[in-house]
């Protein structure tokens, strides 16, 4: 259990995959960029990599306040980053003055541009500014260049400074902010972009009298100073911000803005979705000795083959209805066939597609697939996308060897929705080691007892190292009512057939042999027809 749930109890627990799923949807719509991917990186400030179409956000625990307030700030951060994706051409690193100043100016520019399209965000941005103001550092607690830069950022973005500046410091900051506001206004008025603003940063640095490469310590919304302030202080702060923005609101409106009535139902539905679980009392996957891939800075797009996915989805469209209608003629030939021919063919055969089935997929990542790892992953991703498209409930596991230990990886739990995050889990599994199937089945046994899939499909390209043990554990699975199916993958037809034969010997109920990896999705789906 992470610190969120420790802090607020199970009822307010929000799962990261639920957040990422929503965030990916919203950021794509807000930014207008359909390739945007959102990743969660704990403890880092929100950041956008425009070239890679990636928005990285911290998890909710990064923000201050109640769990709902954290969610609102997190959503506002997502909006700002989406606006960067939409309107900026570059985002520099925040850890030196030059980048920090440019990003601050850009925040101001994209906020104005973004609000033209997403007017409804205004209240949320005011709330965000109000609550994050409480956690911004007091200038008196900072020293030297960092103090000047933080003061510049505070004054530019909000029109206030928190704490005191003395003498020439105040003057320097005011001059730089006036100049900054002027160029942001000009950029918006003349539709000029990031590059144009960037050309003016040296002038701001000169006005602030700092070194452009001065290092900025990790900034600062993390600061808990001010958290002792009451809800009343927050209301006052928001009122102040509204006045500053010439959007004066009544006390009642401000209070309703602080309560966030417009988002509360959304938040509640996320919490409900997060607590929906089929684990039946089992806490986390790690308790089973399974491993969850944890690397976040990965690009899953290399294993996303859009063409393959689209073709597959077109091919399985009938499945969504659940029935396939085919027209067949039957009966013996009669002399009256001329009459029959002139009539509509009345005989219909309906096949049931088992869309309601629960499926577990186990992917072999032993060293023998190393040569074709990417193709293999592309095919399995397409399969998962098709399963998601059909609304089939499924879980995905993979096994490989790391640090001389056999690992069974959880790519997708049964109780989560398929999302790019799961693809990211898969992309980081490196093919290595042997095929210790029995060991893996043993590891998965308690999870399968909880999930109770009707079908378990194992994709493998090798012979298991432990024949008899595999036979016995497969018998155990079958006794639980799980249909055990296997797909053997070979580099050519004869190897594939050999592997298929070997798998039959392991007493799988059905086996398939495949020599072309891109056949995997269709062949696996064909196993679901009854």
């Amino acid at each position: 259990m992470d610190n969120l749930s420790l802090e607020y109890g199970r009822k307010n627990f929000i799962r990261n995959d639920v957040l990422v799923n929503l965030a990916t949807f919203l950021s794509r719509r807000w930014s207008g960029n359909p390739k945007t991917a959102v990743i969660l990186v704990d403890g880092k400030i929100p950041f956008t990599n425009i070239q890679k179409n990636i928005i990285s956000l911290p998890s909710l625990s990064y923000y201050a306040g109640t769990q709902f307030q954290k969610y609102r700030q997190w959503r506002a951060s997502l909006w700002y980053e989406s606006m960067r994706m939409a309107f900026s051409t570059k985002v520099l690193s925040y850890d030196h003055a030059f980048g920090y100043i440019l990003n601050s100016l850009e925040s101001k520019r994209i906020e104005v541009l973004g609000l033209k399209e997403w007017e409804g965000m205004e209240n949320e941005l005011i709330f965000n500014e109000g609550i994050s103001w409480l956690t911004r550092p007091l200038l008196n607690s900072l020293y030297g260049k960092q103090k000047i830069i933080e003061a510049f950022s505070q004054y530019l973005l909000t029109g206030y400074i928190k704490g005191e500046l003395f003498g020439s410091e105040l003057e320097r900051v005011q001059n730089a902010v006036n100049f900054g506001n002027e160029i942001v206004r000009e950029a918006i008025g003349k539709s000029l972009g990031t590059d144009w603003l960037e050309r003016h940063i040296p002038q701001i640095i000169k006005l602030l009298q700092i070194n452009p490469l001065v290092t900025i310590p990790l900034i600062m919304p993390k600061s808990r100073i001010g958290l002792s302030l009451s809800a009343n202080d927050l209301v006052n702060q928001i009122q102040k911000i509204s006045q500053k923005k010439n959007k004066e609101k009544t006390r009642d409106l401000i209070e309703s803005l602080v309560e966030g009535n417009r988002l509360v139902k959304e938040y509640e539905s996320i919490v409900r979705e997060s607590t929906r679980s089929d684990n039946k009392g089992y806490g986390s996957m790690e308790e089973f000795g399974l491993s969850v891939p944890d690397s976040q800075f990965l690009d899953e797009s290399i294993i996303y083959d859009k063409d393959l996915i689209t073709r597959l989805k077109a091919a399985v469209r009938n499945w969504k209805i659940g029935w396939v209608e085919t027209h067949e003629e039957s009966g013996d030939e009669l002399d009256v066939d001329a009459i029959l021919e002139s009539q509509a063919k009345p005989f219909l055969t309906d096949y049931k597609n088992s869309v309601k089935t629960k499926i577990a997929l186990l992917l072999d990542h032993s060293s023998s697939i190393e040569d074709e790892e990417i193709e293999y992953k592309k095919a399995t991703i397409a399969l998962c996308e098709a399963l998601k498209f059909l609304g089939i409930k499924f879980a995905v596991y993979a096994f490989s060897t790391r640090d001389r230990k056999v690992k069974c990886w959880v790519i997708k739990r049964a109780d989560e929705n398929w999302s790019p995050m799961n693809a990211r889990n898969l992309v980081q599994i490196r093919a290595s080691g042997g095929t210790p199937l029995a060991e893996i089945y043993n590891l998965l046994l308690p999870v399968m007892k909880a999930f109770k899939p009707e079908i378990m499909i194992t994709l493998t390209d090798g012979e298991p190292s432990d024949y008899n043990a595999v036979r016995s554990i497969i018998a155990t699975y079958k006794s639980m009512g799980i249909h055990m199916l296997a797909v053997g993958m070979g580099k050519n037809i004869s190897t594939a057939v050999n592997i298929g034969q070997n798998l039959k010997g392991l007493e799988f109920e059905r086996t398939l042999a495949i020599s072309r990896l891109h056949d995997i999705p269709n062949r696996v789906l064909s196993l679901l027809k009854v």
Binding site: F25, W30, G120, S269, K313, R317, E325, S342, F389
Partner: protein, 268 residues
């Protein structure tokens, strides 16, 4: 201008002109576009402009050859052949409108193919093998939904080649959508501003549906419905919820909430 007939159609991407040219050159046309982009309105407008009768058939898996070609029936002890819509249209030289042709079964398409080739004739095995030749001026226009739509499949290549003029009809840009909506509903200037925001929402949802991130994308009909509701004084956000969001509830609360978040981001 408020349209009072079904013939209201705004030819924003020159499709009508293209159809007229295809008709004059006797080249059959295929209109490709997602649902609710005005394909049927375009064809009806075209038929009305050319003063020709329009024979229409909407295809589905249940459409049979006999619906197209005709079938024998028994009437007072006499067996007679009742012509289907294809034969009627060919004989009378009317406009034949084959709606959602790619939803039809392969057998049906095969029979259609026979009539559409350059000879413009069909042999009726159902009626003593008589040959039906199309009258002068016979024109066929078909529509297909993009393959990403439920229930659609690829058109066989030989049939595709019978329609060498292909007209792409997508959702119109917002300014055109505004004009189309104003054809149907009287709106004042403040409502116009709300409509612009509704189009922004609709386009976002259409984009999401095209990427299959949502199961459904709203059509122009929804925009017209939204305009009608707000012109009757319904609060904007409620109208947006009723017209655009509620439909997603059937795919789960999270899907619905995603769309509600879009509505909140736009309308507050």
């Amino acid at each position: 201008m408020i349209a009072d007939t079904d013939m209201a159609y705004l030819d924003w991407n020159d499709s009508l002109n293209l159809l007229n040219r295809a008709n004059r050159a006797s080249i059959f046309a295929l209109i490709i576009g997602p649902k609710g982009t005005g394909k049927t309105s375009l064809v009806r407008k075209f038929a009305s402009d050319t003063h020709k009768q329009l024979h229409s058939i909407n295809f589905s898996l249940r459409t049979r050859e006999s619906h197209l070609v005709g079938s024998k029936t028994m009437n007072r002890g006499e067996i007679s052949f009742v012509e289907g819509i294809l034969i009627k249209s060919m004989k009378e030289g009317t406009i034949l409108y084959l709606d959602e042709i790619n939803a039809a079964d392969a057998d049906v398409l095969l029979r259609l193919d026979e009539a559409l080739d350059d000879r413009r004739q069909i042999v009726l095995k159902e009626a003593e093998g008589q040959t039906i030749r199309a009258a002068d001026g016979w024109f066929v226009v078909a529509t297909i939904n993009p393959l990403s739509h439920a229930g659609t499949k690829e058109l066989p290549p030989q049939l595709l080649s019978r329609f060498p003029v292909r007209i792409k009809l997508d959702y119109p840009p917002p300014n055109i959508e505004m004009e189309i909506v104003k054809y149907h509903v009287n709106v004042n200037s403040s409502q116009e501003k709300e409509l612009e925001r509704a189009f922004k929402l609709a386009n976002s949802l259409r984009d999401a549906a095209a990427l299959e991130e949502l199961y459904y994308g709203p059509s122009i009909r929804e925009s017209i419905a939204f305009a009608k509701l707000i012109s009757q004084g319904m609060p904007i956000k409620q109208a947006a919820e009723v017209v655009y969001a509620n439909v997603y509830e059937q795919w789960g609360e999270v899907e619905y909430r995603k769309v509600m978040d879009m509505i909140t981001s736009i309308f507050g």
